[in-house]
Symmetry: C2
């Protein structure tokens, strides 16, 4: 074979640079130095200053001995310092480890130890739990307290406050490119439902590509005004710290995700876009009419996470929100699948539109392969909208693996695909629809019942605020669906009314056999904790 396309055509600095999202900030600072990059209460930070702050952070960290492949952990709500960290930490070559702010001290200590944290940035609001975590952990990281003006207090744990720390940094610090685009940029622990949390490692390459993927899939254009309703600690805020910066948009920070704060920010800052788990949409949907009446129409919301029942999508669109539904997992950098809308669906009846949009959809341009495979044979399931298989991914926005966990990494990547653990069907048009997490499927009399499908039926009932369905052991059928339901304020329902409602919507074997009313336990990202419900079911049985 001729070697003409190889000889003398080498990678050199002029034609090959490691992909990294850091470039997205340096570009916005060059092109739009005076545009507002970050809003936080009364603070307004331009792109020029955002870039300078990130460089100051990188410089100060470097001065304190931080070097490539060290770990910088952060415990903070959605504040400007968290955005600084998304650029300043990688500028040093170190890895950003975002801590879930709802974890308890023991889980946090596990993460600090496992991540081998060298520096900990910590917002004073979390000083109590962090202090306890540090007392359990064997690490003694450099502690930098973030004393945010909008915080409700707390204690300084270290000798350095963030503003002082930054003041010691050089705003013109010459940051280093990653040596290799495969270098780690972030470490995110999954809030696993069983066992120790697993540390998902992202690369500069993947973070860059998914940042562009978000921009293309949501057709963001230039200068969106983006409200931070999604936790930045969750898959690096689905990569949106990098995505919004790429668009030279405005990050509107938000310490607490509550309806009044969201509504005030939307109105005061002319917000155009936000992301959130379905639980955030549901919170807005169930806000008081007086709050909803003030919100402008046409705000774009991107949702992913737990499959959102089509009733939530329909409700939000009726309020004038423009919903884009996507899907992903921590292991694939947040969303990398999108329920891409087709113009020809605009004329369909409202219910059908909501049902189409509730499907998970198709791969991002920046994820190379997505399919539903039979995990036994690794063959694709037929595109019949019925046969259930496991969602699997191949491509550049799949994690590098789990930190210090080669066995689990290898298992997750068996047979050349990342196994998501989510069960789905493939429709004749190629769009995926989740039926369940592998462990959430209910097998009753040999028939599979999708808990997601039953939950969808429950949400169609106007008295239901939140619902979750899990398997309950059943003598005759093996398992039967048990529904947990939180009613809307001042609404009432009996177990029989709920079951009858489901029987009207579903094949009757799929209807719940029992209903439990009350609050539902949730993770910090708003997912209902089904493992807690399963324990309750076990206790119900033991108790009965």
């Amino acid at each position: 074979m001729s070697r003409k396309y190889r000889d003398g055509l080498k990678k050199v600095p002029a034609n090959y640079q490691p992909l990294t999202p850091i470039h997205l900030l340096s570009r916005s600072a060059l092109v739009h130095p005076e545009r507002i990059a970050i809003v936080h209460g009364d603070r307004r930070i331009t792109y020029k200053d955002f870039y300078a702050n990130a460089r100051r952070l990188a410089s100060a960290l470097t001065n304190h001995g931080i070097k490539p492949e060290d770990t910088v952990s952060i415990m903070a709500p959605n504040i400007p310092e968290f955005l600084d960290a998304h650029f300043g930490v990688p500028m040093t070559g170190a890895v950003l480890n975002s801590l879930n702010t709802r974890l308890d001290a023991k889980a946090l200590a596990f993460i600090l130890d496992h991540a081998e944290t060298d520096v900990l940035l910590t917002d004073t609001a979390y000083s109590k739990v962090i202090k306890e975590a540090l007392s359990i952990s064997s690490r003694s990281p450099l502690i930098i307290d973030i004393d945010d003006l909008l915080s409700s207090g707390g204690e300084l744990l270290g000798r350095l406050e963030y503003k002082e720390f930054l003041a010691g940094g050089d705003p013109e610090f010459v940051w280093e490119h990653p040596i290799d685009e495969w270098q780690a940029i972030a470490l995110n622990y999954t809030s696993g439902t069983t066992g120790d949390p697993k540390g998902v490692v992202y690369s500069h390459r993947g973070a860059y590509l998914n940042s562009l993927g978000n921009q293309l899939s949501w057709v963001l254009g230039e200068h969106p005004v983006y409200l931070w309703t999604l936790p930045m600690f969750h898959c690096n805020g689905w990569c949106f710290p990098w995505t919004i910066t790429a668009t030279s948009g405005t990050h509107v920070c938000l310490r607490e995700v509550a309806v009044n704060a969201i509504s005030a920010a939307i109105i005061n800052e002319s917000v155009t876009h936000f992301c959130g788990a379905p639980i955030v949409l549901n919170m807005i949907l169930n806000a008081e009419a007086s709050v909803l009446a003030k919100l402008p129409r046409g705000i774009k919301a991107y949702t992913a996470g737990a499959p959102p029942p089509s009733a939530i999508i329909k409700g939000m669109e009726a309020l004038g929100f423009d919903i884009t539904h996507s899907y992903g997992l921590t292991e694939v950098y947040g969303p990398c699948v999108v329920s891409q809308w087709k113009d020809e669906w605009n004329d369909r009846p409202e219910d059908e539109r909501a049902a189409l949009k509730a499907r998970q959809g198709v791969r991002y341009i920046t994820q190379e392969a997505l399919d539903v495979l039979d995990p036994e044979t690794m063959q694709p399931v037929p595109s019949d909208g019925k046969t259930i298989g496991e969602i699997m991914f191949q491509g550049n926005t799949t994690m590098e693996g789990y930190l210090k966990n080669p066995e689990t990494t290898e298992a997750a990547f068996a047979d050349g695909w990342f196994h998501s653990g989510d069960l789905a069907v493939k429709h004749p048009d190629g769009y995926l629809e989740i039926r369940d997490r592998a462990k959430d499927i209910i097998i009753s009399g040999g028939e599979n019942i999708s808990s997601v499908e039953v939950e969808g039926a429950l949400y169609q009932n106007p008295v239901v605020l939140e619902a979750a369905v899990v398997a309950k052991p059943h003598e005759k059928w093996g398992e039967s669906p048990c529904a947990f339901v939180k009613l809307k304020p001042e609404k009432t329902a009996t177990e029989k009314e709920i079951i009858d409602h489901c029987r009207n919507q579903l094949a009757s074997f799929k209807a719940p056999k029992s209903v439990v009313f009350g609050e539902l336990p949730k993770t910090s990202t708003g997912k209902i904790q089904k493992f807690v419900l399963r324990e309750r079911v076990r206790n119900l049985i033991v108790g009965s």
Copy 2:
């Protein structure tokens, strides 16, 4: 150093796939199978069929022995088969070599020999020059004639016609990913003004990234209807065969770039976007009023190439076109610099807006570095809008190098940067503005005169249709500017009137000392051939 971020975090098929634009077509075929991908006269080709045709082509080429790193050359206008080739050829691992349709037989033979062409796809309209080229060349490629229904005739040169060839291919051909994203995807010969053409090699990685870069920089959104006014042979149509496919848009083909054909296509196909060298804009600008009156407003045009005088931008915008000005070279995959518009400029006076837009601008998100450096010291010039340096690039959308030309490649990449040969200033806001090609600068009495600046002044004169300025040897000053001018139909002007006009616009030493009226020689991409004008100047002097 801890190796925790290295050990057990390897590249495997689940988390690493070579970047390639081929995926852009497979995705559009999956998501929008029934959308119209290509329009050509009365033909309408859906995405499903476009993908099937590309796979048929790949399959048929493979059946004929084509293997990775072979060369497939194509001589064609902007027709569907050329789009097929942009995907079908790389699917085999081979390299697409697009031939400039305006080259003569000798130049074409040089390219076929140098590229070591294995297959030649050739539109019958070019059978005469190709036949002659083949008689000169030492290669005997497999010839596939494209007998387009809209072609004006010509001869079949081989034994296979494209449609038959395709019929022998498998529409479900399982294409191979490139082994490595650094693998070559395209080979484009620069229409060099001196010496033999140089073969610029593009990689799958660069082509993928610049395809997304176009999409982001022009904010294309979904489903643009794109008119093919730019030759596909020119830097792979600036990567737009891949870009428009990524957006699931519609490619509207066009065999001839003429005002009536453009206007008919815009109206009949509801075109929303097109690209073109300034010469194409100028052609539209000078069309008959009756033609212009029929065109809708708001059509988006992307222009790059020769610096477009602000007068052309102003004129096009006055007609209702929305112009985005970009800049690039064959060596950087076409455009990778864009004169990114800022909202705050909307209120500026018309002339100032046009002048701002006429600047070349800032780097794409997908090109990592762009600067104006002093080529002697390799230091950046000050951002003063005055000091001239050379435009240089670093990043992933710079070519791999020149084929079989390691010395020239090394020289182009000296000191870690790609040297563009274009001279520019950097304005205080960081935007670049071209002053000249290195060889086009005029040095008069020790002062640099930008031929581009003098041409800009000439275009401000309402009688001038086209203008170019080159250096003329001058006894006293060393060099002086000599203007070549083509007047608009039925307009007249004297040499003195033209010189006086320039003296009113420029420092008087910059005004041309002589003016030559008549047709201007152009390259196939509409660039005025200054080297021809320089020869004329030499002849004028010899003759005088």
